[in-house]
């Protein structure tokens, strides 16, 4: 096994995983607070990528005409804010229309509603940008750096910087602000929180706001890193992100980040498994990349078998 290649794949995995983690945060926050698998979350992310493309178009940003230096940073920040804001509003609207009326309904009713919203958003994306793959203008300069033989680009750094800032910010908000405390209280016991004077509906709406805003941010850095998007992207990435949230222990923010990075790394490492027809024995038919989804889920299942509440999830004793 080539050790350099391994490190190289790790770098790829960590950057992809950071994006997964940002999306996973939205899943895990919503699940933590209302125990709903918000299937629409991945599609909010997809809508976010389309918003970013549209904003770039409006600014006339292309790979060649993009400014450099601080004006580029400013424009990117502005795009980030617009994307986050629109996604966040979208998230809140979805919560208001599709989930809030079902707050006291049987557990599976909001799940079906979420699936419905996910289908709606997918078709909105399809109507908006068509069924083909849409490419992002490569506005951020691609500079490749080397540490020894391992390469990484300036975009990788940007992805990690944005992701880490947002995650740290979220962690700080949840831990130290009044709203964060209210969120934790609602997650722990909705009725008790309401009795203590927490406006539960408002806190849930804020949770959706923040979760969707993170998806909007993930959308921009996804576009800068991978340069293309499609109306089905939300589904694929949403699945991975949700898996990441479960892997880390659903409802646990640090767990979601860890899970995201882990999934990114597994996905990258899976590509190293050789094609069995080529090696004539070891490996999988068509190579590991074709199997990466299966491998991710196998790892997930194995982890859950031994730690049924995810990596960092608390093993809550069952109460009667």
């Amino acid at each position: 096994m080539n050790f350099t290649l391994l490190i190289q794949e790790l770098v790829i995995g960590i950057t992809t995983g950071a994006i997964y983690a940002l999306i996973a945060l939205g899943y895990t926050m919503v699940y933590g607070i209302i125990e709903l698998i918000n299937f629409a979350h991945g599609d909010i992310f997809m809508i976010g990528t389309f918003i970013c493309i549209t904003v770039f178009d409006q600014f006339g940003l292309t790979a060649s005409s993009a400014p450099r230096g601080f004006s580029l940073i400013g424009l990117l920040l502005l795009t980030l804010l617009i994307s986050m804001l629109i996604c966040a509003v979208l998230g809140v609207v979805i919560e208001r229309v599709a989930y809030r009326p079902l707050r006291n309904a049987p557990r599976l009713a909001p799940l079906i509603s979420a699936i419905g919203v996910s289908l709606i958003l997918e078709d909105v994306g399809k109507l908006w940008k068509g069924i083909t793959i849409v490419s992002f203008p490569q506005v951020f300069p691609q500079i490749t750096y080397y540490i020894g033989p391992v390469s990484f680009s300036s975009v990788d750094i940007l992805v990690l910087v944005v992701a880490v800032i947002l995650m740290v910010g979220l962690q700080w908000m949840v831990s130290y602000t009044r709203t964060g405390r209210a969120m934790r209280a609602v997650a722990q016991d909705r009725e008790a929180a309401a009795l203590m004077g927490v406006n539960v509906n408002r806190i849930i709406a804020i949770t959706f706001f923040i979760g969707a805003a993170l998806a909007g941010a993930a959308a921009l850095i996804w576009g800068l890193k991978y340069g293309n998007t499609n109306f089905t992207l939300g589904f694929t990435l949403g699945l991975f992100a949700f898996t990441a949230a479960v892997l880390g222990g659903i409802g646990n923010l640090v767990g979601a980040m860890l899970g995201g990075v882990l999934i990114g790394v597994i996905e990258a490492l899976a590509a190293l498994i050789p094609d069995s027809s080529a090696t004539g024995g070891f490996g999988l038919p068509h190579g590991g990349a074709a199997w990466h989804e299966a491998i991710i889920f196998v790892v997930l299942i194995l982890i859950l078998v031994f730690r049924p509440s995810g990596l960092l999830g608390q093993q809550t004793p069952e109460k009667v």
Partner: protein, 670 residues
């Protein structure tokens, strides 16, 4: 106390008779005269009078005749039953509105849009109707009228009153129907559209119908009375006496034991005669069941009369809808009975499909290098493979269920989702066995001596899927009422309580996964045979989600609900939305204008592009209007609307007293 002077006719009885006879006569007349009922009858008669003159001959003629007799006899008996079973706590006008919404609206939709699309539209309209009705009642502080006086079926006299009511109802219903029919036929006769031969039939019928009505009304009354329980004395701890009937009938040991089961007690409680919700009582459900079975069984014969040409295409469509019903029923075991959220159910469907796909095509020959069985008997292998495929799927169900045993709630969901993703990838990438992305083609259809299974004759497939569905429903009902089924429901309600009551969690959960997978294996084998091939594209996460939507929309845990849900979702998704574009090309259709308006803003717009959008909106709307599903199970309905609407008028005398078997579910607060 009821006295002999209360025997007919009293004011109450007259009101009851008018209420039900008018209520039922209108839909029957619409079916007979507006739709194709009379056409079927006339064709049967002409076929009987001079064989060879019409299209109806031989077995087809007999089938149509049986359907006609069963249909009208059941409706007349139903009238008798309903009159005997009604306690008068629904206002006449409310009842008529209900009947319009539940019979006339579907009839008109079905006549105009075809069976499945009509049913799908009903699935959208009904939840909206329930929602509006609930809101209106809340706003108007609706209180149901008091029950009819002296209605306690406790002594012989009261039973005699109910019986005579039922008899009169049957008689007058049939009489009114005969008179209306006579008038209609006379008009036809004078216009010259009625063959003179049929005049004899008109005379015979007009005499025969009231007589038959008298006896069928008696039958309905007898059904109502047989389901009678003694009214329970309020508040006393007499729940053990549910079995020992107050009338003094001897009650068998078996029946006593049955009554001890909570579900049974609940079910029977609903059937107290007189009933506050006669249309929903289990006695009435028996009649509906007869109607539905007769309709479905003889459908291939009736279809040309009901919908005109194109029978073969429609039947093929229903054959496809059928395996969704089996899949939904199978998933209902896992999700509905045992409460284990399964997001990867499609995996077992894929396993079942590939099981017959690989055996029933040349694929196995390619893998092994030689044919394992004589190719001529290959298609006959379908029958054993139906079971073997199901068992293979069940085996994988148990195997994949094993790692999830320690998991709770949504961790379970994600693991099953994982399996749902892994299995299709395995089939996609192991192309040596599964032919990879191209899928398997040339899968044999079943063979059965004397039956032509070619693609142009969908009738065998129709009856095959009907038999499979019947088997699945039977197995589901038996499983639900078995010890195992009660254990499933117990772990759904409370795992810890169930475990401490001696339910073996491991076995029970594994059985749930196995049983659920078993039925999807059957559906898979049928799917592969009907399609003549297996494609890996048919097994995505989206399909798992659709199956789950069928179960939840229908009413989780409720067998009739899940069947309706499966048909409704299939119809909406596959038929209704697929037709929108062709509907929009017709200038007389309102969609035409809508389409033009949208094309004005979005060039190149087609409804096909927003299929999922509309489907998604429908899902959300149905869930908001009716979160407990179209036909919720009795248990869930109680939980969900415990404080609202129908419950204030659900048989008051049987409200469960503290300590009785059903008490806890009744007071449970979610």
């Amino acid at each position: 106390m009821p006295t002999a002077s209360m025997l007919l006719p009293t004011r109450d009885s007259r009101a009851l008779l008018i209420k039900w006879i008018v209520g039922l006569l209108v839909p029957v007349m619409v079916f007979t005269f507006v739709w194709s009922g009379e056409a079927i009858i006339n064709n049967v008669l002409l076929g009987l009078i001079n064989p060879g003159s019409t299209a109806l001959q031989g077995p087809v003629l007999i089938e149509a005749a049986i359907f006609i007799v069963v249909f009208y006899a059941t409706v007349i008996a139903l009238t008798g039953y309903l009159v005997a079973a009604d306690s008068g706590r629904r206002r006449t006008i409310d009842l008529w509105i209900d009947i319009v919404v539940f019979t006339l609206v579907p009839l008109f939709l079905v006549i105009n849009f075809g069976l499945v699309v009509g049913a799908a539209l009903c699935a959208i309209i009904w939840p909206a109707y329930f929602f509006v009705r609930r809101r209106v009642r809340q706003a108007r502080h609706y209180t149901p009228p008091p029950p009819l006086k002296n209605l306690e079926v406790s002594d012989a006299e009261q039973r005699a009153i109910l019986m005579s009511r039922a008899t009169t109802a049957g008689f007058w219903f049939a009489f009114a129907f005969a008179v209306v029919w006579l008038i209609v036929d006379l008009i036809y006769f004078f216009v010259g559209q009625l063959p003179t031969v049929l005049l004899i039939w008109v005379v015979i019928r007009t005499i025969l119908l009231p007589i038959a009505g008298y006896f069928l009304g008696r039958l309905g009354g007898a059904v109502a009375l047989r389901r009678t329980l003694a009214a329970k004395s309020n508040g006393s701890k007499s729940d053990g006496n549910v079995a020992t009937n107050g009338v003094g009938r001897r009650v068998s040991k078996k029946r006593q034991l049955e009554s001890l089961s909570t579900t049974r007690a609940r079910e029977e409680a609903k059937d107290l005669v007189p009933n506050d919700l006669p249309l929903r009582s289990t006695g009435a459900q028996r009649f509906y069941l007869i109607l539905i079975v007769a309709f479905v069984l003889f459908y291939p014969v009736l279809d040309p009369f009901l919908f005109g040409s194109g029978t073969a295409g429609r039947l093929a469509g229903y054959g496809d809808a059928g395996y969704y019903v089996i899949l939904a029923l199978g998933l209902n075991i896992v999700v509905g009975f045992a409460g284990l959220l399964d997001l990867g159910y499609v995996a077992f469907f894929a396993i079942g499909s590939y099981a017959w796909g690989i055996i029933g095509s040349t694929q196995l020959t390619n893998v092994l290098g030689q044919a394992p069985v004589n190719p001529h008997i290959l298609s006959a292998l379908f029958w054993p493979m139906l079971i073997v495929g199901a068992l293979i799927a069940a085996f994988w169900g148990v195997l994949l269920g094993a790692p999830t045993l320690r998991l709770r709630g949504d961790y379970l969901a994600i693991v099953t989702l994982g399996f749902g993703e892994i299995v299709p990838i395995v089939f996609l990438e192991l192309d040596k066995y599964s032919n990879g992305p191209n899928g398997i083609v040339g899968v044999q259809s079943p063979s059965f001596p004397g039956v032509d299974w070619s693609v142009i004759t969908p009738v065998p497939y129709y009856y095959l899927i009907l038999a499979l569905i019947a088997f699945t429903i039977f197995a589901n009902v038996r499983l639900r009422d078995s010890r195992l089924g009660r254990a499933w429901i117990a772990i759904r309600e409370d795992e810890i309580a169930a475990a401490s009551s001696g339910v073996n969690l491991v076995n029970t959960k594994l059985f749930a996964f196995g049983a659920g997978a078993f039925f999807s294996g059957i559906a898979g084998a049928y799917h592969a045979a009907k399609l003549g091939g297996v494609s890996p594209d048919n097994f995505s996460f989206g399909d798992s989600v659709i199956f789950l939507a069928m179960v939840v929309i229908g009413g989780i845990g409720s067998i009739p609900g899940v069947i309706v849900g499966a048909l409704a979702v299939y119809a909406i998704n596959q038929l209704l939305l697929a037709q929108l574009d062709s509907l929009a090309t017709d200038p007389s259709n309102p969609l035409y204008a809508v389409h033009n308006a949208i094309v004005h803003f979005i060039p190149g717009f087609t409804f096909d592009n927003i299929r999922n959008l509309i489907f998604g909106i429908i899902l959300v709307v149905i869930m908001i209007f009716r979160p407990e599903g179209l036909i919720p199970s009795a248990r869930r309905r109680r939980e969900f609307h415990a404080i609202e609407e129908d419950h204030e008028i659900e048989v008051g005398a049987l409200d469960v007293v503290p300590g009785a078997p059903g008490f806890e579910t009744e007071v449970r607060v979610e």
